[in-house]
């Protein structure tokens, strides 16, 4: 009972509070919304126009007209009423020609009226360059066989704020999509672009479906709003064969293959892997063998083969025993004349004697000696060339070289060519005549200057064979000439033939 007595005042109090709160909320709701959050503002670039639109959050409040005012933050300018946006029923306003500065913070106030009552006042401020929403422009496409023309309709006159937008803030993007392949085209726009703007998307495949979309891309890469996609099917190509691009590609491919092939051939040829060279140097060219024929000696340079017979004699020892007619000399010395420094070398001449393989004996030598007179020629005649006496000369040499001393064998003969035109040849007729005088003196033999009568002169031929070369060979061989044969006719007979003044030059 007591609780019931106390409850009734509480109930009435609570009821009053509830009623008051309800009434208060109702009143408040009926009051104009003056908060900043009453409206949602949006500024967009629609069809190249700057449009400010708003929407009341409280849909229960429906003003019948609006009035728009604005000001800028960067300057302490007054609030400006937009004339063409005063007492308008629409909830948007075209501010393209009002707002001319892009980098500016605009403070906007929108009053919503019903009758003479202001139902709502909305306020906002926004940085236009960052918060303007770019709607895609309107465009048309025209399809061809291998390309598409995209036409974007720009206004005939660009507003100032649009110039600044196109100059710096945004770029036009044209997307081309075929299947899952998307290509973006960014045509260059300047602030002077007006009227219809046409962009050609080329290098497309005929008889293929392509979809095109156009939109603006802001500099700050904010949300992009793409236009509705417009698709088209390209016309089929008239040629059933390869397209022009495929044809060009084939030609280029064939050209590259040919270039690679030719370059490979050239490289292999240069390296010598193929087409080996056969162009030998000129020095190895033996085709003109006639050029390598040893030329014949000029006819005026006749050469006679002469066999030089050297006799190595001991120096004659002067024997003062005049009683003995025989010559104590065992060797036949060739008459030696020395005239004016010249050394005379005599060459034996005579009929070619019988050649024998064996070494000649002393009898052969004697026989050879007896044959000597037969070989004498008329005195008046110049000495003959010793060609016919080649064999005799050989025999003589064998005789003289038979003593077995430091002489050479018969086979160790030196044969050399003597140019008789450059050699003084003396006749041996006087010598032969002396021989006829019952002398066994052998014919004139090559002599050598007397240096030491006791020392046998060395064999010149041996020296020659050792490599030295003497201009005038001297007799070097010794031959076992019988002592009785040899006689020194020079002691008693006529002096040696001094032909120092009587050289016969051939």
């Amino acid at each position: 009972m007591l609780w019931s007595q106390n409850a009734s005042p509480l109930r009435s109090r609570n009821l009053c509070l509830v009623v008051c709160i309800s009434l208060l909320s109702g009143v408040l709701s009926s009051l104009p919304d003056l908060s900043d959050k009453s409206c949602t503002f949006k500024v967009t670039l629609h069809n190249f126009r700057v449009i400010l639109s708003w929407e009341l959050k409280n849909r229960s409040i429906v003003p019948d007209r609006y009035t728009l005012q604005y000001t800028v933050i960067s300057r302490p300018d007054g609030v400006k009423i937009v004339e063409h946006c005063s007492n308008i029923t629409a909830s948007f306003c075209d501010l393209t020609d009002v707002w001319e500065v892009l980098p500016e913070t605009y403070a906007v106030m929108v009053d919503g009226f019903r009758g003479n009552t202001t139902l709502v006042t909305c306020f906002t401020d926004f940085f236009l360059a960052a918060e303007i929403s770019l709607e895609p422009p309107e465009f048309d496409i025209v399809n061809f066989t291998d390309h598409i023309n995209v036409n974007v309709n720009f206004p005939p006159v660009l507003p100032k704020i649009l110039e600044e937008l196109l100059q710096f803030h945004l770029s036009l993007i044209i997307e081309e999509q075929s299947g899952e392949i998307v290509k973006k085209h960014n045509p260059a726009l300047d602030e002077h672009v007006i009227g219809n703007f046409t962009y050609v998307i080329d290098k497309l495949l005929p008889n293929t479906n392509y979809c095109v979309s156009v939109y603006f891309m802001p500099r700050n890469l904010e949300a992009i709003r793409r236009s509705p996609i417009k698709c088209t099917l390209l016309q089929p190509a008239r040629d059933t064969g390869l397209s022009e691009s495929a044809r060009i590609g084939g030609i280029i491919t064939m050209f590259l293959i040919a270039a690679v092939f030719i370059s490979t051939i050239i490289i292999l040829k240069r390296v010598g892997y193929i087409c080996l060279r056969n162009n030998f140097p000129k020095v190895l060219n033996f085709n003109n063998l006639s050029a390598w024929v040893v030329p014949e000696m000029p006819p005026w340079e006749a050469v006679a083969f002469v066999e030089v017979i050297h006799i190595n004699r001991k120096k004659k020892e002067w024997n003062y025993n005049y009683d003995d007619e025989s010559d104590s000399n065992d060797e036949a010395t060739a008459p030696l004349t020395s005239t004016g420094g010249y050394t005379k070398h005599g060459l034996l001449t005579g009929l070619p004697g019988p050649t024998s393989a064996s070494s000649p004996t002393g009898q052969d030598c004697l026989e050879l000696d007896t044959e000597e007179p037969n070989l004498s020629e008329p005195k008046g005649e110049p000495p003959m060339a010793p060609e016919p006496s080649l064999g005799r000369g050989k025999l003589l040499q064998d005789c003289f070289f038979e003593d077995g001393s430091s002489t050479e064998e018969a086979g160790d003969k030196i044969v050399f060519n003597v140019n008789l035109s450059s050699v003084f040849v003396s006749t041996l007729d006087d010598d032969v005549s002396t021989l006829d005088d019952d002398s066994d003196v052998p014919p004139v033999l090559p002599s050598f200057p007397e240096e030491d009568s006791h020392t046998p002169e060395p064999s010149f031929l041996a020296t020659s064979r050792e490599g030295t070369q003497q201009p005038f060979p001297t007799p070097s061989a010794e031959c076992p000439w019988p002592e009785d044969v040899l006689s020194d006719k020079r002691d008693s007979s006529e002096p040696n033939v001094d032909i120092g003044d009587g050289y016969i030059m051939r």
Partner: protein, 186 residues
């Protein structure tokens, strides 16, 4: 020998030019990215100017900056460095009255500091390698501009309306800075 030296010198000049061109392209991209990021951070700082219209002030940004006058690339580097430096100095002051999100402010300061360091390095290279005649007049005007902003804040005692006005002004200056860096040569 002479032809070889000439060829080497020509190659050196060509590649040096190429490298420098690439550096300025990279700098342009970096500056643009930094400017856009700073603008986004500033826009995230809540506030309204509805009750601050009486505190508006024309800080008179230099006309050379506002009209995007043609500068040589060295002056662009110097001007952008000055703008990043001064903006960073402003937002390091007393922000207690604004109620702004501290993380947003820290991100803003970090972006400003990073870009400032990068510009200082580039400026040192420019001063060492090239003989440049600086545009001191523009730099002086810029210093005076930021000095007016600081004096305004001090005069308004760093009130929320003062910071709202300054926020809008700095946002506007970054737009002009972005246009300025876009004029860097390739």
């Amino acid at each position: 020998m002479t032809s070889r030296c000439i060829l080497q010198t020509a190659l050196l000049v060509y590649f040096s030019t190429t490298v420098l061109a690439m550096n300025y392209n990279l700098l342009r991209f970096q500056l643009s990215s930094s400017s856009v990021e700073c603008q986004e951070l500033l826009l995230q700082l809540n506030g309204t100017s509805k009750d601050c219209l009486k505190d508006r002030m024309n800080f008179k940004i230099p006309e050379e900056i506002q009209k995007s006058q043609k500068f040589q690339k060295e002056d662009i580097v110097l001007v952008t460095l000055e703008m990043f430096q001064k903006t960073s100095d402003i937002f390091r002051r007393n922000l207690s009255s604004t109620g702004w999100n501290e993380s947003i402010v820290e991100n803003l300061l970090a972006t400003l500091h990073w870009q400032k360091e990068h510009l200082e390095e580039i400026l040192e290279d420019i001063m060492q390698e090239e003989n440049v005649t600086w545009d001191h007049r523009t730099l002086l005007h810029l210093k005076r501009y930021y000095l007016r902003i600081v004096r305004y804040l001090k005069a308004k005692e760093f009130s929320v309306c003062a910071w709202t006005i300054v926020q809008a002004e700095i946002l506007r200056s970054f737009f002009f800075l972005d246009k300025l860096t876009d004029s860097l040569p390739n």
